[in-house]
């Protein structure tokens, strides 16, 4: 997958869970949680969406590495490499 495709997959997963947030208002360098009011169940749904779209399953011990959109893109790309 290209980086653009990975980013699209992540954004789609996020917006599925929080459809009322305008995508251009999401700062990819800042933590997602506070920006999009994502709770723990929402977060799980986001991860499931990412797994469906990229095949990458993110374990709990790596949660700290996927707090921002940019970090998540990097993480998924590294896992797919």
């Amino acid at each position: 997958m290209t980086e653009a495709e990975i980013r699209a997959a992540i954004m789609t997963s996020l917006l599925t869970v929080a459809p009322e947030v305008p995508p251009d208002e999401i700062d990819p360098t800042k933590p997602i949680g506070p920006q999009m009011d994502v709770d723990s169940i929402d977060f799980l749904n986001v991860l499931m969406g990412i797994e469906e779209r990229t095949g990458v399953e993110i374990p709990e011990r790596d949660y700290a590495k996927v707090q921002t959109v940019d970090d998540t893109v990097k993480y998924v790309a590294a896992r797919l490499a």
Binding site: T12, T16, A18, P19, E20, V38, D39, I41, L44, I58
Partner: protein, 471 residues
């Protein structure tokens, strides 16, 4: 029309799931009803054959109005589908009251609004209408009357606290023959056809006030809120159950009003006490992480599920936290119907119940949480889930604060809050370490328990979380 929430005055029938001639059994879901908060599936508690459907889909009727005739063994008799369930833990619902269906709302004010305005000597021109097309409803007139009488309106919405503080208005409880009435209450009761002995008064010494009568009569019927769809989704459609429109902003506004009024009432009537305890979650979280490594994401169990499970188990040690406070005092419940505080994305908090949580192991509880959250977000809940919770826990707000000091949902007697899990310096075996800590709080009804009992409850939850294998 059942009472599906303590602050519900009227409901709009969306759909019948049965037709004349269908056999119905206790527990069958027979209709879908729209309220301020959610579209709720209504269960029936009679057995028999559907005779006549008395209300058309799309109609709004006050709580208590007969919706259908159910015939049993050839005899035709009207039955109202009620929200109360068989277990002793069921809250009392408003006794069905024969109130005529409201006439179609005139362009400016509903008949009940006019009646209240006469009673309160208010000019309708001075009242802001919140019904559809700006129609003045009975609730608007009552609210205007309150504002005029008391400068600090108790019913006015309070600023929403930073941490979600869930609560719901109490369900009116049938009174006894010695119910006292204010003169206005007596007049309204006659006018509106309400039996005041069925009401619990909110006035001084339990006097039934005019407001209590008006509320019970379902006179404060809110116009049905249109479920306007949101802007077109920017992504592929989320996996939502088919056929439901996303609730529009007006529904959320109505819900916030209902919550605000309910919170004020809960705080006014329940003597709350608060306790807090930090709980070392490190062992439990490490155990959970190992367990989750062996499972797919779909089977992953959240820390919140651990907290809920520990709370359910702790009730076995301190049953005084689980049940309802009624006229005669506290009634413990054998079953644990666990209310879960769930925030709605457009604002507002709702706390539907996971029924019989005591019978569910950790995996089952996790599945129940996911299912409940999904249906709550689309406001598709069942009547029993809205009215049966015996205790409520709020544990899902990860973006929130460390401590949650909540407002109890009457007639429950306790609300357990869990804040954000935070890594903190901690004494471990005499050395300084870092542990992941969660702050547990208990809001409890001082009529049903005292601080010592509450302390035992938090200690029991703490204890269970130190032995996660047994959760």
């Amino acid at each position: 029309m059942p009472s599906l929430g303590a602050d519900m005055d009227a409901g709009r029938l969306l759909e019948w799931y049965v037709q004349p001639g269908d056999a119905v059994h206790r527990g069958d879901i027979v209709a879908l009803v729209d309220t301020d908060k959610a579209a709720i599936e209504v269960e029936i508690f009679d057995e028999g054959v559907v005779g006549e459907l008395l209300i058309e889909p799309g109609t709004t009727v006050p709580v208590g109005t007969a919706m259908a005739r159910i015939e049993a063994a050839g005899a035709a008799r009207p039955a109202a589908a009620a929200a109360s369930a068989p277990p002793p833990a069921s809250p009392a619902t408003v006794r069905p009251v024969s109130v005529p269906k409201p006439a179609p709302a005139p362009r400016r004010a509903t008949p009940s609004a006019r009646a209240h305005a006469r009673e309160l000597d208010l000019d309708l021109e001075d009242v802001r209408g919140t019904g559809r097309h700006g129609v003045v409803t009975g609730a608007d007139v009552i609210a205007a009357g309150r504002l005029r009488e008391r400068p600090i309106a108790e019913g006015a919405p309070e600023a929403a606290p930073a941490a979600p503080a869930p609560s719901v208005a109490p369900v009116p409880v049938p009174g006894d023959e010695r119910t006292r009435l204010s003169p206005r209450a007596r007049r309204l009761a006659e006018e509106l056809g309400v039996d005041p002995s069925t009401l619990r008064g909110t006035g001084p010494d339990g006097t039934v006030t005019g407001d209590d009568v008006a509320a019970a009569a379902g006179a404060a019927a809110t116009a049905p809120m249109p479920a306007a769809p949101d802007a077109p989704p920017r992504s592929e459609a989320p996996a939502r159950p088919a056929g439901r429109e996303k609730p529009g902003p007006e529904r959320y506004a109505a819900m916030r009003r209902a919550i605000a009024a309910a919170m004020a009432k809960s705080k006014r009537e329940i003597p709350h006490y608060y306790l807090t305890q930090p709980i070392d979650l490190e062992r439990a979280l490490r155990w959970l992480e190992e367990r989750n490594l062996e499972r797919s994401i779909a089977e992953r169990v959240l820390p919140a599920a651990l907290l809920l499970r520990a709370t359910v188990q702790a009730i076995a040690t301190v049953p005084e936290m689980n049940g309802f406070f009624r006229e005669d005092g506290f009634e413990p419940s054998a079953a644990v119907h666990l209310g879960v505080g769930i925030s709605l994305r457009q604002g507002g908090l709702i706390a539907p119940a996971i029924l019989n949580a005591q019978d569910q192991d950790l995996s089952a509880l996790m599945a129940s949480i996911k299912d409940l959250v999904a249906r709550t977000r689309t406001l598709q809940l069942r009547s029993s889930e809205m009215s049966e919770a015996t205790i409520t826990v709020t544990a899902l707000g990860d973006q929130g604060v460390e401590s949650v000091y909540g407002v109890i949902y009457p007639p429950q007697v306790a609300l357990v809050g869990f804040g954000k899990v935070v890594a903190r310096p901690w004494a471990v075996d005499g050395l300084l370490g870092v542990r992941r800590i969660v702050q547990a709080t208990l809001a409890a009804d001082h009529r049903a328990s005292d601080g010592h009992t509450g302390g035992l409850f938090l200690a029991a939850i703490d204890e269970r979380l130190q032995y996660p294998e047994e959760l």
